[in-house]
């Protein structure tokens, strides 16, 4: 196995433990406190669903980029990677707008334990999206010059992982009320 791929899988495995700990903590507290449903009712399911759709679509582009990179077409791979960047950026902007409306409504990280978990889990995930967007931009620029095309697959594995984490955050924070 190439070193880069091994490294990305090691990152993914360690991230499973990090996010797994946060999600498991949230689930056990949520099950123990029925009152959290009152707080959870203030999150907007449609915003969460829209962001899920955005992440799903950005992952489609990264899959196309991987395929193009394997075919040796760096320019095409780069174009698809930039589309993924657009998706990730949209996700972060929507998240920022959502948080702004929640904070101005008085739901801050110190409002209650539910909101502490909400901002910690969603914030940690958003940081991973931002890191992914930065790496995607670097790899897109390299791919356009036909350089390091194997890295397209590596950022893809990371981006899919970020997407999978969101698959679980979405029902936990936006649907289970």
């Amino acid at each position: 196995m190439p070193t880069g791929r091994l490294a990305v899988w090691m990152v993914v495995v360690s991230e499973i433990v990090v996010f797994g700990g946060v999600l498991a903590s949230y689930i056990m507290h949520r099950l123990a406190h029925d009152a959290w449903s009152v707080q959870a009712a203030h999150t907007n399911m449609w915003i969460g669903a829209f962001n899920t759709f955005v992440l799903l679509t950005s992952s489609l582009f990264v899959a196309f980029a991987h395929k193009a990179a394997e075919e040796g077409d760096g320019v095409k791979a780069s174009n698809f990677l930039w589309m993924t960047v657009a998706g990730g950026t949209t996700f972060v902007i929507v998240k920022a707008l959502e948080w702004t409306s929640e904070i101005t409504a008085g739901y801050t990280i110190t409002s209650s334990t539910f909101w502490s978990f909400y901002y910690t889990a969603a914030g940690l995930h958003a940081l991973h999206v931002i890191a992914g967007v930065v790496i995607l931009m670097i790899i897109a620029m390299q791919a356009r010059k036909q350089m390091e095309l194997h890295r397209v697959e590596l950022i893809g594995i990371y981006w899919y992982f970020v997407e999978i984490v969101w698959f679980f955050l979405f029902p936990l924070l936006y649907i289970a009320k």
């Binding site: 196995m1 791929r5 899988w9 090691m10 993914v12 495995v13 360690s14 499973i16 433990v17 797994g20 700990g21 999600l23 498991a24 903590s25 689930i27 056990m28 507290h29 099950l31 123990a32 399911m45 669903a49 899920t52 759709f53 799903l56 679509t57 992952s59 489609l60 899959a63 196309f64 991987h66 395929k67 394997e70 893809g156 594995i157 899919y160 992982f161 997407e163 999978i164 698959f167 679980f168 979405f170 029902p171 649907i175 289970a176 009320k177």
Partner: protein, 117 residues
């Protein structure tokens, strides 16, 4: 199948399936029945994660130790949950109590008693 020459499935079809599952999870929440909501939401999340890991991350084509590593991380998460959940979710144990929970339970009992009389 070689690890270096991956088979690329129809990504558009997988994307359509994932979007369809997203619609199911949102529709399940709109039904308004708690059990249906939870089953559709978390069931869909598990299916979506499986589809992405299998078809997009190509976890099946990676070296065998990769799925084992991922499974180990998931088992560690379950171990953490099973070890910590009783302390978090129960009001008292063998040598410990949660005073705030007990006070809340007493207040709840008093208010119930007052409501009945």
């Amino acid at each position: 199948m070689s690890e270096e020459h991956m088979h690329h499935p129809n990504y558009l079809k997988i994307w359509a399936m994932l979007v369809g599952l997203l619609v199911v999870s949102v529709a399940g929440a709109m039904v308004g029945i708690r059990v249906v909501t939870l089953i559709t939401a978390f069931g869909v999340a598990c299916v979506q994660a499986y589809l992405v890991a299998k078809n997009c991350m190509h976890i099946g084509a990676a070296r065998r130790f990769v799925p084992y590593l991922v499974a180990t991380a998931l088992v560690l998460m379950l171990l953490f949950f099973s070890g910590a959940a009783p302390d978090v979710m129960k009001p008292a144990g063998v040598n410990w109590v949660k005073p705030a929970w007990q006070e809340a339970a007493v207040e709840h009992d008093v208010s119930l008693h007052e409501a009945r009389h």
